[in-house]
């Protein structure tokens, strides 16, 4: 079973490259991350075109909803079968590992659905990024038939996607902070405790300290979005570069070397990185929201 799985992944990894071998084009891994307008939708200055990332996001949200309904809502009973146990496992991770780690008790009811959705959604979007799907927007001809090229691409390897997700968490953080602590209370809580009162003598150091804390709040946004984006981009780039080495150097001799290496990275990404990154994003969102609701000082 395990051997068959490894073989299947190897074959799946070769599949997207078959088309490239047929064409006389220079292979460049970064081309896989370009966005083309498939269905152009332009409303004024807004560009709402359906691109590869949008298609993957739509697929991801459909699968997330289906998972939630099938695993956790449909035909539930007190005596759980395997399907329901899987759903309960996901729920348990979202409850104990994510929500209770960061959110204070009074806010779990309101914010648990959000962080649990983040966890499941990012996990699904990351995971379908490693399944070769005919969504690459390219075609190749096999026996006179025009077939879509299988390709791996994760919507989360586009900065726009991760930045929107991070922006949601970031805005919720500050809205909740202001709602629970009041405007003055919340922005006052940025200042570390035990500081001298704001007098003329201390004005400059205290303002600098406060500016630094504000900068830290903005950096949260950057780190939250770039972490997920760069992880997925680097993972895909690594796999594509390893396989692409054969086509760049135009030799098949490298195949026994690069295919196992790419398979190893593929398995590392699928088994470890996909889950960890989803967990981290959801857990950090929970911690940020929780720390805004109940500031330490």
């Amino acid at each position: 079973m395990k051997r068959a799985l490894a073989l299947a992944t190897t074959l799946a990894l070769i599949a997207p490259q078959v088309a490239l071998a047929a064409e006389d084009e220079e292979f460049d891994p970064s081309r896989e991350f370009e966005q083309h307008d498939w269905i152009p939708i332009h409303i004024g200055p807004l560009d709402l075109s359906i691109t590869k990332a949008v298609a993957y996001l739509m697929l991801g949200s459909l699968i997330t909803m289906a998972l939630g309904i099938v695993l956790m809502r449909w035909k539930t009973s007190v005596d759980p079968d395997r399907r329901q146990s899987a759903g309960e496992l996901i729920y348990d991770i979202a409850q104990t590992q994510v929500a209770e780690q960061g959110l204070p008790h009074k806010a779990i009811g309101r914010w648990f659905p959000y962080v649990a959705t983040l966890l499941l959604f990012i996990f699904v979007v990351n995971l379908i990024g490693f399944i070769p799907l005919p969504l690459s927007g390219e075609t190749f001809t096999l026996f006179g038939l025009e077939l879509p090229t299988l390709g791996i691409y994760a919507a989360t390897s586009s900065l726009a996607v991760t930045l929107s997700l991070a922006l949601m968490s970031w805005i919720f953080t500050h809205v909740e902070g202001i709602r629970y602590n009041g405007f003055r209370g919340y922005f006052g809580s940025f200042m570390p405790s035990g500081m001298p009162p704001f007098t003329f003598k201390w004005a400059i150091p205290l303002s600098l300290l406060y500016a630094l804390e504000l900068l830290g709040q903005v950096m949260r946004l950057v780190s939250l979005s770039v972490r997920l984006y760069a992880n997925m981009l680097a993972g895909h780039m690594l796999i594509l570069t390893f396989i692409g080495l054969m086509f760049v150097l135009e030799t098949v001799v490298l195949a026994p070397l690069v295919i196992p290496a790419a398979t190893a990275f593929y398995l590392f990404e699928v088994i470890i990185v996909v889950g960890i990154q989803a967990y981290i994003f959801a857990a950090l969102s929970a911690i940020y929201i929780g720390s805004a609701i109940e500031p330490e000082h």
């Binding site: 590992q97 770039v226 760069a230 950090l284």
Partner: protein, 86 residues
Amino acid sequence: MFDPVLAQADTAVDAGKAVALALGIGLGSVGAGIGIGYIFGSMIQSVARQPELRGELQGIMWLGFALCEAVVFYGLIGGLLAFVLV
């Protein structure tokens, strides 16, 4: 745009960009490698001392691991920015 396999240095500027990219990833990974080593080392020590805390520690460990690992990617993004924009 970016060809990691055959980064061709036609001019000194291109060579500088390639060096920036390589340094960004390379030095970033040094720091993250040390950090990840510390995290897993401390985890092993803690579990050896108090095995009953493994479940609680695991969540913190993975959080620290991901925060550390992300540092490599900040270097990578910085290097890519130097490569593409400058």
